[in-house]
């Protein structure tokens, strides 16, 4: 975590540094990011950087934390009131549509999110886990459990597997957003994807007539 010096900075400077770091990590990824470039773009002294952060990883972990906070906010906080009324499909729809909006607002966050999966082998990943462990791969778990409790979802369904499927689908969507250009991934495409998913979820995948 950043040192006290960092949090004593003016909000403007702190924001400038965070913003520059987002740029850097989004553009070059964690691996190819460069402290030199960050301090140059943020217009702070290199020595100052190491008075704010222990090292490059320290900054990265902080940036990820900020991102998670924002995304959590965007999905949960903003709609918290409605969450309990939603079916799983409706929730998925909401999450995925929100994902597109977030991408439009600030594509850097999604870029860095995707990058996270690539870091599992690096030491920095374990540090990340120490702080934000729960957050990364269990987005849908509490919701699924609630649905089971409410009798909507079959208790025989393996929560982890279902959660993983949905998380993966989110990643799939993310990679679509990042590979192509935004215009192609319209909200109507999202609806189609969720419809197709709902099709599977409601009937299974097998041809009933055949059995």
């Amino acid at each position: 975590m950043p040192k006290a010096t960092f949090f004593n900075l003016t909000e403007e400077k702190r924001g400038r540094i965070l913003n520059t770091a987002l740029d850097e990590f989004a553009e070059h990824g964690y691996q190819d990011s460069s402290v030199s470039r960050i301090v140059a773009r943020a217009e702070i002294a290199k020595g100052s950087f190491y008075q704010y952060f222990n090292d490059k990883d320290d900054l990265f972990i902080f940036v990820i934390g900020e991102m998670i906070a924002r995304r959590k906010l965007s999905v949960y906080e903003k709609e918290r009131a409605r969450l309990s009324e939603l079916s799983l499909t409706e929730f998925l729809r909401l999450v995925f549509h929100r994902q597109i909006d977030e991408f439009a607002e600030d594509p850097r966050i999604m870029k860095i999110s995707l990058e996270l999966i690539r870091l599992t082998a690096k030491p920095v990943f374990h540090q990340l886990m120490d702080y934000y462990q729960v957050e990364l791969n269990s987005l849908f778990t509490p919701f699924i459990q609630e649905e089971i409790a409410r009798g909507e979802i079959d208790p025989g369904v393996n929560v982890q597997i279902l959660n993983f499927m949905l998380v993966s689908l989110g990643q799939y969507l993310t990679s679509l957003l990042l590979s192509g250009n935004v215009d192609n991934i319209t909200h109507s495409l999202i609806d189609r994807i969720v419809d197709d998913l709902e099709y599977i979820f409601s009937r299974g995948i097998y041809n009933k007539a055949a059995n």
Copy 2:
């Protein structure tokens, strides 16, 4: 692709280099791999390396090719005769069990496989695609399509989404294998996972009684 020089080497030397490269890429990943370390460990001169390969990417692409060849062999070739008789679930079971065996045989290959997803942004990834395009993300697609044709799977099912789910599940398994130690991921766990998947696939996820 490696130069003719490489293929003219004795099998012992060629094997030593390939083996060292597998070690290096598995341990450090593509990004942090080092030609200097490879030549040191393989006990060849640095100049020799560049007489065998055009550059680091050339070696990496070759290693990936070798891996794909081995995995293809292991999954498809070895059981080709049985494939048409299998249901999707049975095929999944076969693939995932095989994955565990492969991991036990040579965990490096799985480590490097997982690494591939991390490289989508790097130039080397596009080179990889030029050689092995089909292999990476459509493992189950042909099988699903065949099952639809045979009337086993509902034609209303979105092939891409289903394929992506299964591919993701394979990656999930891989990451489980790599994160923990092998002993925890037994064949019986695989059976349980596939059973749970089959549960979802055959009935959907919703509580029929509730509807």
Copy 3:
């Protein structure tokens, strides 16, 4: 151009680096010069070098600039007052004598000057031209034009050809200075050369009696 870092150095260190670079370029030429040798001789860290200069070319261009500045100073600035009173021959005499003095003062500069002609095909040459364009090949042009305007030189004379002859003669002198040892190229030799040139310039080369 060197980075601000370089100009912030103490004059001693800056001088040491410049001096080492002069040694290196004079001894090995641009092509065979080595950053590694320079930093070793100047006793600075390799990393420091790249904090002072963008790359090897950057240093070279700077060194050339320093040289041009010094030579310009020596030929033009020091005698500026007298220039307009001089005939072309007197000017030549002055330039060539000055060349010998410069060589005695610091032969490295002349060595590097001569090297410049060898670089026309290299990218660094075009960079050089962007900074010091005018300086290299038109030393005598303005003077010749002035002499024509003053009615001293025949307007029928092709300025470029005459200028090129004189520039070449300067290079000839330079190569004489560099090939042999200094002692052989005395000021009296210069006088003889300029006398011989003046002989041609005043009468042409043909035997008048014969025609």
Copy 4:
């Protein structure tokens, strides 16, 4: 000089090597030429190269020798009969026109010729001098001396200086040919240059009216 093995080769192979070397030296210059590329293009084994030549310099010196032989042939041999009838101006005209033709025939030779001047500081240059000393810088000397003997040129004219002027002019022409494209350097331009030179040579450069 090449070893006996080289001269024992079939003419085809010898020619192929010479030709490839011309390509290489013309394209990359002596400094940046690469033995590896030469053997690759000439399709001979690297080991063979060192059985034909002692080293890279050995090949270079041989190539220069071949070039000099060709150029001498082209200028002197082909017109030997007419040489004694020509005035200096006519000879210059002939030489410079011939230079253009040579460039059209094989620009590589001119490219390498120009490169020679750039090598004065390199060890290979001294080796070159040991073989072809006279040839490089005294093209016009014998002719000037003959003209003086015939009473055409004023005996007061310094032969070396006049020769150097003309040699330099040849280099100037060469650099024009190499820098621009060939079409711009027409034979009529040559005539104009020689006319301008003749203008200076016949009258000197000074304004007679003024004196």
